[in-house]
Amino acid sequence: MELAERLLSGDKRAAARLITLVENKDPKAFEILKKIYHKSGNAYVIGITGPPGAGKSTLTDKLVKALRKKDKKIGIIAVDPTSPFTGGSILGDRVRMTDLALDRSVFIRSMGARGHLGGLSESTQAAVKILDLYGCDYIFIETVGVGQSEVDIVKTCDTTVMVMVPGLGDDIQAIKAGIMEIGDVFAVNKADRDGAKRTAREINMMLDFNKADWRPPVELVIAVDNKGVAELLEHIEKHRVYIEDTGEKEKRRIQNCKTEIVDLVQQRLMNIMLDKSNKEELINELSSKVASRKADPYSACELVFENLKVDL
């Protein structure tokens, strides 16, 4: 059977292989996705983001277990960073989800960010579609541990859960632009630690300034003890109802598709530019000159542009 049919019939190995092909930018994968894309869009996509060590994987594990009680089929995409030096990575999110490995209705895939900076990998959106077509009701995307500005997740999912922990900074951190703006639901994890209530209060104060109709709730959670998880799931479901009833979901999905198209075009242009046969040598040569002040980066940029052999 063709890979496409196998995927649509819920074949686990077909889903796994197709994600590999997409990650390796195999043109075959995109030909397949072109044919069956119209069947996707059924899964509800939840993003889990937050700083490293906040408990994203553990919380995902618990949320998924709660949803499994409702007999939902779940996909999890867990992204971890890739070394900028070797291209290697340690993908360790499964360690927190070992019980889920034996659940046939849960599919977990670990992805290296492979040089992508926004908290996801370039192939994450395609992987979401594959798990959607595989038949998942819910797809969780766990980002790499984020700092202040990795906001790609919000352009990829329906509900974004921001996982915070006590002790990372004061209320000035809470009002900064960037990741603190993208949460639809906030979890203050490790709530048994000192300062959890204060962290929640600071986030709440920040959120009180929001003018949007949806006021993100802030929930105290102890993921390892499964405390606050049911409440968090309720908030997620409420947000889902909100965006579905107000038409916000459609708006978001259109916006997300726009981002995706622009990203794909950008990637393609980047690939042309960095193609070894194209200008890599010139760029390397110019880099030395710019470093030794024999040239400036702005003129170098113009020179690369002029010499670009673009074969569109």
Partner: protein, 131 residues
Amino acid sequence: MDRPIRVLVAKPGLDGHDRGAKVIARALRDAGMEVIYTGLRQTPEQIVSAAVQEDVDVVAMSILSGAHNTLLPKVVDLLKAEGVDDMLVVGGGVIPDEDIPFLKEKGVAEVFTPGTPTQVTIDYIKENIMK
């Protein structure tokens, strides 16, 4: 080849020491591989399920408990039962030399015993992946 090799590093069975597994995971990372680390006390079923979902090139298992003759062949058999025929299965840890022929006969491609330089393992994987 410009795609990273994907390796599942797993600890089957009941021993609680994953220092060796972490050392090898780190060495493979530094060799440019994507290492999916699954943690301690994995059953063969969990390992195979993860290997299938992650579509890895290599399943690398570290075992110190002495149960290698049972657990490693079990993983090979379960992979076969899933229809997987293109994953390299390797083992490492405290495994007596006299057990190695048996493990190879059962489908474990190679066994790396204590003292093996990590580069040997890296080279073996690069030369032998089947995909």
